[in-house]
Subunit: 436 residues, 2 copies
């Protein structure tokens, strides 16, 4: 049997314990598929004594993660510490500069520092892999980077956050409101005690920025992702969408277009969308993730599965390790990092879309006329308008509009015209209809 591939594992939370369990329970088949055994030699975490349900006494313990990254008996460092900076980033840099391959599940770190880490990996001539950072157990980075490698990718989009998808599909099934369902999700472990990263779309934006870099050969640009979360959605929006033949999903979406000077610009947005019921993403329920890549030859490819959880995430981490054991040594972002293009943020204003606009308004005469006039003055063409007879609490009425196709800038302009209107009891909510 060939020499083992030796692993140092930093971070022993649920995913770290999952990786240990997986490597143990599937050891035989992994060795056959990888061509060599995979052995954990050292581990590190904050608390050595904590009961994790796995036996870590077989592995060398390192209090100092950084020292672990430099061990002579280690080939691959697996970073499962989390956090975009701090110990995780220090560990990652030390691992690469020590000539170790790096495998990480850390989407925040890759979104913020993926390029400098890829530089370091290229300089050291070692692999940097992060399949588990996007869409949990789904091999979507591999699918995009290798499976779709022959294609110019025209658009990539998907459901990238399981927490939001659980909340939205549960609101849909039960008719309950956001806050109520969030509380349940927290109790069930589908949402964190502080759910900000998930429900504000930041986690999905991390993942989208990574996918966009691979899909379009662009330098990662997380700060330019337009991000809008799901916290303002009401049960009534979901009901209204359903009546129109749509479900609501938090979608991350990216493509490229020619900018004003002909340069390639990058569009990246995370936002709740109305998804037509005949679209595959409309049937993705619960904490599932799904990514669609549209290639100029492949057509629409869909990858779907568990977006989180210790088992699926461990599956993706170990898939990366097996690739390394097999000798796979491709560029982390498909093309060499030095060839990734800096792409300015695309100007979304001229993009053509259909929108769903929802207004909460005071129940008094003239409000509808005011909204309709703003739409007309901004050049927004209304396809349907529904004022809900049923009153919300506090004398509020819900007015929802679906527009005809038109430039995003016109809708923005209409909302500007209505800004500060005493008729509106809260800022309008805008969601696009996903174009299939």
């Amino acid at each position: 049997m060939a020499t083992p591939l030796r692993i140092a594992l930093a971070g022993l939370g649920t995913v770290g314990a999952g990786v240990i369990r997986l490597l143990e329970s599937n050891a035989g088949l992994i060795a056959r598929r990888a061509g060599r055994p995979i052995e954990i030699v050292a581990v590190s975490a904050r608390d050595r004594a904590k009961d994790r349900g796995v036996d870590i006494s077989r592995f060398a313990w390192e209090d100092d993660m950084t020292a672990m990254a430099a061990r002579a008996d280690v080939d691959v460092v697996v970073e499962l510490v989390g956090g975009s900076d701090g110990p995780a980033l220090t560990l990652a840099r030390n691992a690469l500069s020590s000539g170790k391959a790096l495998v990480t599940a850390n989407k925040a770190m890759i979104a913020h520092h993926g390029l400098s880490l890829a530089d370091a990996a290229a300089a050291a001539g070692v692999p940097l892999k992060f399949e588990a950072a996007v869409a949990g157990g789904i091999p979507v980075i591999k699918g995009l980077r290798e499976g779709a490698a022959a294609n110019e990718i025209e658009r990539i989009y998907g459901i990238l956050n399981g927490t939001c998808n659980y909340i939205l599909s549960t609101m849909e099934d039960t008719g309950r409101d956001f806050a109520d369902v969030l509380k349940d999700a927290q109790e069930l472990g589908y949402a964190e005690a502080d759910p900000t990263f998930d429900i504000e779309g930041i986690d999905a934006a991390h993942k989208l920025s990574i996918l966009a870099a691979i899909a379009f050969g662009a330098r990662i640009d997380f700060p330019s992702v337009e991000t809008e979360g799901i916290a303002r959605l009401r049960a009534a929006d979901i009901e209204q969408a359903a009546a129109l033949g749509f479900v609501i999903r938090l979608i991350g979406i990216s493509d490229t277009e020619a900018g004003p000077d002909g340069e390639e610009t990058l569009f990246q947005r995370v936002c709740p969308y109305l998804v037509p019921r005949d679209h595959p993403l409309a049937h993705v329920d619960g904490p599932t993730n799904a990514v669609v890549a549209e290639g100029n030859y492949s057509g629409r490819l869909l990858f779907q599965g568990a977006g989180a959880g210790d088992g699926p995430t461990a599956s993706a981490v170990v898939a990366d390790i097996i690739d390394i054991a097999r000798g796979e040594l491709g560029a982390p972002f498909s093309v060499p990092v030095a060839e990734l293009k800096p792409m300015p943020k695309a100007d979304a204003g001229h993009r053509i879309a259909r929108d769903y606009l929802r207004f909460m308004v005071a129940d008094r005469p003239g409000v509808l006329a005011e909204i309709a006039a703003a739409m007309r003055d901004a050049g927004v063409s209304i396809e349907s308008l529904i004022q809900k007879g049923r009153r919300e609490e506090g004398g509020e009425v819900m007015v929802s509009i679906v527009t005809h196709e038109g430039p995003e800038a016109n809708v923005d302009r209409a909302l500007e015209l209505l800004q500060g209107s005493p008729s509106l009891t809260e800022p309008p909510l805008v969601m696009q209809l996903l174009a299939s």
Copy 2:
């Protein structure tokens, strides 16, 4: 720039022309992703003069495919000739014995000769790749072989034939009968003039046997795939399934189980199934393919996309070529071919399932009693029985039964008891309910 990877292309049908177009239109990005340019140097087909919409005058022409496979200026032979034996197989063998990498889209050849070709590739130390042989443009072989490599695969199943799926989903949408929709499919180019391979499930069985080998580390065993096609389905079956909350899809499904002596046995079946409407495969319409792999850590992974067509198939062929350019050299069936286990065919009789049974019977007293008695005597427990009031032509009546869970052997026994009964105007149709 690194030295080009040099391709010889055999077979210039729609897929071959698609590969030429793809390599030309996406040349720049492919070279960046592959790390080197990919160049066609020689081509071969039956008719040199035929207009294929692509310029082949740039390439060396070889009348003799076998000679082409041995050219000193070729690194990779791409076989797109088709047919399980004959010229395609001769070409494949010659390419490998000449030390060339082989890329093929030929499912029949891999299902029949994949093991001996993998032996030859291992002996020559060259890659053998066939992503395009299964599910067209969907990178499912890569997903299974690499993306899910950390997992013991518990079950693999999917929609593997676009022609059947187009016919079934069109029957569902329009209420029309099989023969009628098949004729349309032929006119639209979704079905061949001789549709036998597709509608009898043979094409899906080829693909299933390849997936099963990779998923379970089993030696390919195409002859032991139980195969049943879709030609006997009636519009009334689809209507009946819909009333019960199901759609009908031709599914290939495989898993392993312990045999009577504890040895691992292989279950492989292609058959129309009743798919519950809340299952992702129930929403796969038209000529689309989709494959589900259930891993013991990843959970359910779904890969979906175009199952055929020149663009998607070319996308998969070129993905294989890019992998070769990048230096990927893994075992074609995930583990070395010598380590694939011979697995006897599983005995399906004791498997537990729910079935849909459809009888066409003469409209006369006592028929229902006869069927019910056979079910009782064979130990089949009936969940629902519907006799359609509406008469079919010729005084026939349709009786459809859904059973409770029970061993397959009991249903077989019930059908044996009814065999030869003058009450039945045609043999019963049996479909299982897909267990999710």
